[in-house]
């Protein structure tokens, strides 16, 4: 279900710390210790965020117990981008049609208005 996945992804992205973690991971995979450095947070707190990201499929973690390096997984982000793009295109197209239709309506009303004025005189 695309939307349940999307909902999970969006919920994971809703937190600024988690977004900062993802931004850091854009530069390459790294360890939890390395990841926690820029944040004023305990390792367990960082681990909690990583679990949310992992559950959402936004990161993957290595199997080695000691290191468990984290890396970014792009596919859920692609889904977010597609979701935005879908509606961007929908409204862009729909607004184009509305724009054309309003032009037609305006010219119709103008003609109509002129007829009315003529009748009155």
């Amino acid at each position: 279900m695309v939307n349940d996945r999307l909902t999970t992804t969006l919920a994971a992205l809703a937190d600024p710390t988690r977004r900062a973690i993802l931004a850091r991971l854009c530069t390459g995979e790294t360890t939890v210790t390395e990841l926690s450095k820029p944040f004023d947070m305990s390792l367990p707190a960082i681990s909690k965020h990583l679990k949310v990201l992992e559950h959402a499929g936004l990161i993957a973690r290595g199997r080695e117990a000691q290191w468990r390096p984290c890396r970014l997984e792009a596919s859920p982000l692609k889904e977010v981008a597609e979701w935005v793009e879908h509606y961007r295109r929908f409204w862009e197209d729909t607004f184009d049609r509305l724009d054309e239709y309003l032009t037609q309506l305006k010219s119709k009303e103008r003609k109509h208005g002129r007829r009315h004025r003529r009748r009155r005189t």
Partner: protein, 150 residues
């Protein structure tokens, strides 16, 4: 045309200024006879099934895609403030709440569409207000197919 996204708030905002007075733009949004003339992307047509234009009223239509795919839409109007604002909940999935705002800018009109998407809260509210969420799965499958094609 501007589209802004606030991913954290599950929100998409689309805006455009139209070269038409606000009363006319309002007419285009509030009358089924007009709305079927422009709703949806290029190549789509719309069959209006029901448009009970008042708060609590049902708005149902089918969008026919150029490839023959039909998209069933059902919304409930939440708020209608002539000629300023129309708010509705899209209840047939994907769930979202939309607010359309009309602002006069001289002889022109600015239209802002703000869509807030599916969240646990919205899902609960829709389930509570309208019973089962109709056709949600079916529609999501369609959306999925549609996204896959894009």
């Amino acid at each position: 045309m501007a589209v802004a996204t606030d991913v954290a708030a599950r929100e998409i905002v689309a805006s455009r200024v139209f070269d038409a007075p606000r009363e006319l733009v309002w007419k285009a949004w509030s009358d089924p006879k007009h709305i079927v003339q422009w709703w949806g992307p290029k190549g789509f047509t719309t069959t209006m099934q029901e448009m009970d234009f008042r708060p609590g009223g049902v708005w149902r239509f089918i969008m026919h895609g150029p490839d023959g795919t039909d998209y069933q839409n059902k919304s409930i109007y939440r708020e209608i403030v002539k000629p300023e604002r129309i708010a509705f909940s899209h209840v047939s999935g994907p769930l979202f709440e939309a607010t359309v705002t009309f602002t006069a800018e001289g002889e022109k009109t600015r239209v802002d569409v703000r869509m807030v998407f599916e969240s646990a809260e919205l899902r609960e509210k829709v389930a509570k207000d309208f019973g089962a969420v109709e056709g949600l799965h079916q529609n999501l499958d369609r959306l999925e197919q549609h996204l896959a094609k894009m």
